[in-house]
Symmetry: C2
Subunit: 395 residues, 2 copies
């Protein structure tokens, strides 16, 4: 809080506090909220009434009783409340998702198609159409939209660099919001690994600080610290794909040498596994092929994945040494390959993290699979509603 707390912001704060209590332990009751927050019963009742009127909270049958007295009315987050629209542009698919106020995924559409080499305006027109279809598919008020892009995004919604799409210094927000089908929602753009990390965060209460490593054609990361996303000064955090594994290693497309992408990126894995080159496979087919070969215990593939896991583990150990995290989560195309990557990642963490002896760092595949980013994008909008419900009710 930077500004002064006055009556209006006090009310806004307490409204969010009550909504947060409803979300934390459903179904709950006015009495329990009063107990948990220290607010008076009368204050809680007045705030709950505002949330019920605004369709953010529903009253349901009696809540489980804590003590004596008559049963209290149960309170739950409303599945009819303001929902979030998530959108994603990736190298080989476009996607849209709607997540409602309770966190449930109410709509998900994924359109597989290689996006490389397409004109950005065409891609964005398709995204706008997916957005309109999502809006029509659910009967919910949409609070806003969030678009996931595999690249560096700055605060004004400019994509500075999305190398695998061939985008550089591209205004995405303008063409998207002026596309024919665009449903006209307040919209922000963010990096896909960041949003996937937020999606992952919503699935766990236990891990508050973790590294989410997203394998796509490139490698990105979302860093969650104490339950929040680390964005960095310009919003350019998480570029783990360009952490150095060997100072004099192979030259990376970024111009530096020995970057992690040259050891654990999709092309490096395919090359080491000896998967025939020729026409490059679309990324999703390449991953499917690797899963098949590894599942059939193909020695070259298994050893290529172990080598990639070693490189990932070296980079992740550096991150854990620096940031002291609870877990390493493998996402994107690393998720279906986690069975063949995890052992090597864990070995490097055990060897290289200074504190691993007291506090070993678990490695796991992400819970949301390859849909983490689009679901995380929709959920990020919902989190904003939950953090500031006053905008969605008549105060």
């Amino acid at each position: 809080m930077d500004g002064p707390v006055r009556q209006r912001s006090l009310w806004q704060h307490n409204l969010a506090l009550v909504l947060g209590e409803v979300g934390r332990a459903e179904p709950t009751s006015r009495a329990r909220i009063a107990q948990a927050t220290g607010l008076t019963r009368a204050t809680v009742s007045a705030l709950v009434e505002v949330l019920v009127r605004g369709r953010l909270v529903d009253e349901v049958g009696p809540a489980p009783r804590g003590g004596a007295g008559r049963p209290a009315t149960g309170l739950v987050l409303s599945p009819a409340g303001p929902a979030g629209l998530g959108l994603e542009i990736n190298v080989d698919y476009l996607a849209a998702a709607v997540v409602d106020l309770t966190g449930a995924v109410r709509h998900l559409e994924v359109r597989q198609a290689d996006q490389r080499g397409r004109a950005p305006d065409e891609v964005l027109a398709d995204v706008a159409e997916l957005a309109a279809r999502a809006r029509d598919a659910v009967d919910l008020p949409l609070a806003g939209a969030r678009l996931a892009v595999p690249g560096l995004v700055d605060a004004r919604g400019l994509v500075r660099l999305a190398p695998n799409l061939g985008w550089r210094d591209l205004d995405v927000l303008g063409p998207l919001t002026s596309a024919p089908h665009w449903p006209g929602l307040p919209t922000e753009i963010d990096n896909e690994a960041n949003l996937a990390a937020l999606g992952e965060l919503s699935t766990t209460d236990r891990e508050r600080s973790f590294l989410y490593v997203s394998g796509e054609v490139g490698i990105g990361a979302g860093i969650v610290l104490d339950g929040g996303l680390l964005r960095g000064t310009h919003g350019w955090s998480g570029e783990i794909g360009h952490v150095t594994i060997a100072a004099d290693g192979p030259t990376c497309r970024c111009g530096a040498r020995g970057c992690l992408e040259q050891y654990a990126g999709q092309e490096a894995i395919l090359r080491t596994a000896g998967v025939p080159a020729g026409e490059p496979l679309p990324a999703d087919l390449a991953v499917r092929r690797l899963v098949e070969l590894a599942g059939a215990a193909d020695p070259a593939t298994v050893s290529a994945l172990a080598a990639a896991g070693t490189a990932l583990g070296i980079a992740a150990a550096g991150v854990v040494n620096l940031l002291d995290l609870d877990a390493v989560v493998l996402g994107g195309s690393f998720a279906p390959l986690a069975g063949w990557l995890c052992a090597a990642v864990e070995r490097e963490l055990a060897t290289r993290v200074l504190t691993a002896a007291w506090s070993p760092v678990p490695v796991r595949a992400c819970a949301l699979g390859t849909r983490a980013a689009v679901v995380g994008a929709a959920g990020a909008v919902v989190r904003e509603v939950q953090a500031a419900p006053a905008s969605w009710v008549d105060g």
Copy 2:
């Protein structure tokens, strides 16, 4: 804010807000504070009165006038207000500092002596004596003490590992606070690089996120994100000395291979520079010797420092790729050597940071020199007073 905002915490918040305004732009006036905060003149006057009565704020001659009307009374932070005591145990010295509420260093004592191999109780008895001398040297109320240790410190004040002191799983708080001369202050323990980074933060308004790399016998780091210290889940962040530079490099005393310390730690630099081994030099003399040799353009020393700078730059580039920081600051023994390290660090950052082309990352020596940790420790106590002045006044 996790709890409900009620009248008492509202008052506490606004009291800190007003004190913050006084610190931000001295001398200021009640009218300017009201304008900057949006609080009413009456509220500001009441809060200022509490701060003046509590000796946190002094009234001085008329403040520079902003407009018409009679001159307002100037308000400044009081140099007689609650001060912080900083203490430091390092490999080759012990230190104590007092920083007053205005941020001025009012006392500094450094006792050069090799601490390696001494019994921890003896070291802590000496620290307690330094603390008592500091208390007697200044005529100020001390709000608390903070002790900087070159190692991993956990939340309960246990030193898990301070390899260069030979300390492991050592209770430091108990023996310190029961030592004969101990002045009896609320005390916390923290990692020296963390406190040095906080000290550095207090010297700059421009850089809000930076990596502070501290060279001593080992290499530690303090990571400042958006004006606050990143501590990590257990308080073990910043172990940059064990970030991998080459997966199959020399074995480190931590058991892993190719750690940064094996390339840029003091022993590695001395060895590469060909400084005669024999009896190992105390760390401060070793640094002085390196400065002399480099200053005389000794080719082996200059090239050893360039090699160390390259390794530091590789590690720092990884950190900036991950965290998107404003600057890299070289502290501890790297500060006097910065002239011979910076060029190599900057070169690696320029090559390896993905966004360096748009936003080059400056590298510089720390402003406080080798006293950053003890001054930062004292300043950390003062920051707590400034953040929660209500504890120091009669509400």
